[in-house]
C-alpha cells in the first residue's frame, strides 16, 4: 500500500466533532446511552460494533436526521443540537454524506446528481457546473459516465458516484455509511485507497460506519466501539491499539473475528 497512515496525531489538534452524553432513543426504547467521543480534524474515525447495535443511527444523529434524546453534538465550537435552523443548514453544507444504498437521485443522471448541490449553493454557470461534476466523477474513476442514470451502472459504481456527490461542495467532513457493504474485495480495497487519498490530500475529516475489519485496520486511526448488550460505548481509540492491548473480551473477540477472546456465541449481541 502506497499511502501510509499517520499513526499518531498531535494532541493539540482541534476537535472536529464532539459528542457529549448522547442518548439515542426511539420513543421510550433506549438504543444507546452515554455516548462520549471526540473526532479530531483529519481523523478517519470508525463507528463500529456488531450488526444492529445502532451504528447507522449514531450517524443519523451526527448528520441531524435524528435528534438526540439527551446530550449534544458539537461541530468545532458550534453546538449543532442547540443551533437554529439557519446555522444548521450552514453546517450541513460543509458535510458530504454517502448513504448505505448510495441514495443517488434515480431520476437524474450522474452529472446532474453531482451538479445539483453546486447549482443550488453556488453561482456557477450550468457549463461550469457540468465541468466540475465531470471532474468529481473522474476523481472516483467514473469518467465518461456523466449521462448515465443510477440504475444503468453497477452497485460499486453507484457507491463511487455517491462519493462524488458527497464531495461536490468540497466538504470539511465526509460521512460514509457502510461504504464497502456489497462490494467485492478489490473494489472495497480501491475504495479504502480513495478514502485515504481524500484525507491525505484535502485534509477532510472522515467518519465511517463499518464492520469490515480489513478497512478498519487499513484506514481507521480512531474509533468508537458500540456494544448492543450494555447499550453504550465500551471503547474509543485507535483500532490497531485496541486489537493489540484491549483487555475487554468483547472487543478482542470482535477485532480478531473470534480468534481471541473466547466464546463466540456468548459475546455476540
Amino acid at each position: 500500500m502506497a499511502i501510509s497512515v499517520p499513526q499518531s496525531q498531535p494532541s493539540n489538534v482541534k476537535a472536529a466533532i464532539t459528542v457529549r452524553n448522547m442518548t439515542m432513543a426511539y420513543g421510550s426504547f433506549i438504543l444507546m446511552r452515554n455516548l462520549n467521543f471526540v473526532v479530531r480534524r483529519g481523523d478517519i474515525f470508525i463507528i463500529m460494533g456488531g450488526s444492529g447495535c445502532g451504528k447507522s443511527t449514531v450517524l443519523r444523529h451526527l448528520i441531524g436526521l435524528k435528534e438526540p434524546a439527551t446530550g449534544e453534538i458539537i461541530y468545532g465550537d458550534i453546538n449543532f443540537t442547540r443551533a437554529g435552523p439557519e446555522v444548521r443548514e450552514q453546517l450541513l453544507r460543509r458535510f458530504g454524506i454517502l448513504y448505505q444504498s448510495g441514495a443517488l437521485w434515480s431520476s437524474m443522471t450522474l452529472a446532474e446528481n453531482v451538479g445539483l448541490p453546486l447549482g443550488e449553493f453556488s453561482n456557477l454557470k450550468p457549463a461550469q457546473i457540468r465541468e466540475i461534476a465531470a471532474l468529481k466523477l473522474a476523481l472516483v474513476g467514473l469518467k465518461g459516465f456523466e449521462d448515465f442514470y443510477p440504475n444503468e451502472i453497477s452497485g460499486g459504481m453507484q457507491k463511487r458516484a455517491g462519493i462524488a456527490r458527497a464531495m461536490a461542495l468540497d466538504p470539511d467532513i465526509l460521512f460514509f455509511d457502510e461504504p464497502s457493504a456489497g462490494l467485492d474485495p478489490i473494489s472495497s480495497r480501491l475504495l479504502d485507497n480513495l478514502i485515504l487519498e481524500l484525507r491525505n490530500s484535502l485534509g477532510t475529516t472522515i467518519v465511517i460506519v463499518t464492520h469490515e475489519l480489513a478497512s478498519i485496520f487499513t484506514i481507521g486511526n480512531n474509533c468508537v466501539f458500540l456494544d448492543a448488550e450494555s447499550r453504550t460505548q465500551i471503547a474509543t481509540g485507535d483500532p490497531k491499539e485496541l486489537r493489540a492491548h484491549s483487555q475487554d473480551p468483547r472487543i478482542a473477540t470482535f477485532l480478531t473475528r473470534g480468534e481471541k477472546g473466547g466464546d463466540l456465541t456468548q459475546s455476540h449481541g
Binding site: R93, L104, E120
Partner: protein, 378 residues
C-alpha cells in the same frame, strides 16, 4: 431408500432408571414425522432418571429429526431428566448442540403478546392524534413553500415541474376522455328515460351540460387523478424515502418538501382545471351522441340548448372545484409518500392510503362545495 418409509420412534425400558428412545426409518420433512409429545406422554407413564437416544437403526434423516430431538431435550430439561446422546451419529449430535448453543434471548418473545382491548383503543387514539398533527404540519410547511415559490425563492427543478405536468396532464387525457364520454352518455340515458315521457327530450342537453360542467366533470377527473397520479406520487416519494434519497436532499440543506412536493402540487393546480375543461367538453359530446342517435334530436338544436343553458358561473364553479380537488390529491399523495415506512410493502400501503385519502377528501370537498354554492345561490 424407499420414499414411503416413515420416521418412527419407539420406547424401551432398559433398566429401571433408563428409557431408551429408539429412532428408526427415514426421517424426512416431506414425510410425516412423529411428534415430540409422544415422549412427554411416555415420561408421564414411567419416570426414568435418564433418557438415552439411539439413532443406529435410522436409514436417512434431515432437519425433521433435529427438530424432534431439540423438542425432546426441552421436555427432558423441563422434567429434570438427564439425557444421553451417545447413541446419536456425530453429525446429528453436533447439529443438535449447535441449535442449543445460544440460549433463547429473554424478552424477545414477549413483544408479540397481544395488548388488551383498552391498550389498543388508547394507542389507536394517540395514533390518530399524531396523524392529525403530522397533517397540519405538512399543510403548514407546504404553505410556507408556496409562499416562497410566489416570491421566486423556492428551490426546485423546472424539469421536474415539466415532467410532472406531462405525467398528470398530457398522459392522462386518454383515460379522462374515455370516462368523461361515458359519464356524458350515462347522464343522457338517465335523463332521457324520464324526460321523453313528457316529450321534453331536448332538456337532456340541459341535464348533461349542467351536470358535467358544474359537478361531474371535476368529480370524475378528480377520481381518475386520485387513482392515477395520487398513487404515483405516494409510490415515488415513498420509494425515495426507502432508498434514502429524501435524506440525501435534507442533509444537503434542500427541503424535500420544496424540491419534491412543490412541483407536483403546482402541476396538479395547473393541469386539473384544463383536464376538467376537456372532460366537460367530451361529456357534452357523450350526451350529444345519445341525443342524436337514440332520441332523434338535431345536433344543432342540441348544441344551441346546451349553450343557452350554461353560464360562466357554472363553468368557473366547476373549474374552481377541479383546482381544489387537484390540491387535495397532491397533498394526500405527497403526505402519504413522506409518511411511508422503510420497506417495499410500506410503499404499497402508502399508495393505497393515498388513493383512499384523496378520494375521501375529494368527495367531502364536493359536499362542502354543494352546501356553500347553495347558500351563495350559485
Amino acid at each position: 431408500m424407499r420414499q414411503d418409509e416413515q420416521g418412527e420412534v419407539s420406547f424401551e425400558q432398559a433398566s429401571d432408571a433408563t428409557l431408551v428412545v429408539r429412532l428408526s426409518g427415514s426421517w424426512c420433512l416431506r414425510n410425516d414425522m412423529p411428534a415430540a409429545a409422544l415422549l412427554a406422554e411416555q415420561l408421564k407413564a414411567v419416570t426414568p432418571k435418564r433418557v438415552l437416544f439411539d439413532s443406529s437403526p435410522i436409514t436417512n434423516w434431515d432437519s425433521s429429526l433435529i427438530a424432534f430431538l431439540t423438542q425432546s431435550s426441552e421436555i427432558c430439561r423441563a422434567h429434570g431428566i438427564k439425557q444421553d446422546r451417545g447413541g446419536l451419529q456425530d453429525g446429528l449430535r453436533h447439529l443438535v448442540e449447535l441449535a442449543e448453543a445460544v440460549p433463547e434471548k429473554t424478552g424477545a418473545r414477549s413483544a408479540s403478546v397481544r395488548p388488551s382491548f383498552l391498550t389498543r383503543v388508547g394507542n389507536a387514539t394517540i395514533g390518530y392524534g399524531h396523524a392529525v398533527g403530522e397533517f397540519l404540519s405538512f399543510l403548514g410547511e407546504l404553505s410556507v413553500a408556496l409562499a416562497r415559490f410566489l416570491r421566486g425563492k423556492a428551490r426546485y427543478r423546472r424539469v421536474d415541474l415539466l415532467e410532472a405536468i406531462q405525467q398528470c396532464g398530457a398522459e392522462a387525457v386518454g383515460i379522462v376522455s374515455l370516462i368523461a364520454f361515458l359519464i356524458g352518455v350515462i347522464l343522457a340515458f338517465m335523463g332521457a328515460v324520464q324526460l321523453s315521457q313528457f316529450g321534453a327530450s331536448i332538456y337532456v342537453a340541459d341535464l348533461v351540460g349542467i351536470g358535467m360542467v358544474r359537478d361531474m366533470g371535476a368529480m370524475m377527473t378528480a377520481i381518475i387523478m386520485s387513482g392515477r397520479t395520487g398513487a404515483a406520487f405516494a409510490a415515488k416519494l415513498g420509494t425515495m424515502k426507502v432508498t434514502q434519497e429524501t435524506d440525501a436532499l435534507t442533509t444537503m440543506g434542500i427541503s424535500p418538501l420544496e424540491f419534491l412536493v412543490l412541483p407536483r402540487v403546482l402541476a396538479l393546480i395547473i393541469m386539473m382545471p384544463l383536464l376538467c375543461l376537456f372532460a366537460d367538453l367530451i361529456g357534452i359530446f357523450g350526451g350529444l351522441f345519445v341525443g342524436v342517435s337514440m332520441l332523434g334530436l338535431a345536433p344543432g338544436s342540441y348544441m344551441r340548448e346546451t349553450i343557452s343553458t350554461l353560464t360562466l358561473t357554472n363553468l368557473f364553479g366547476g373549474l374552481l372545484k377541479a383546482t381544489t380537488y387537484g390540491v387535495l390529491i397532491a397533498i394526500a399523495g405527497c403526505l402519504r409518500g413522506f409518511q411511508c415506512g422503510n420497506s417495499s410493502s410500506a410503499v404499497g400501503d402508502a399508495a393505497t392510503q393515498a388513493v383512499v385519502m384523496s378520494i375521501v377528501m375529494v368527495v367531502v370537498a364536493c359536499g362542502l362545495f354543494a352546501v356553500v354554492f347553495n347558500i351563495l345561490g350559485i
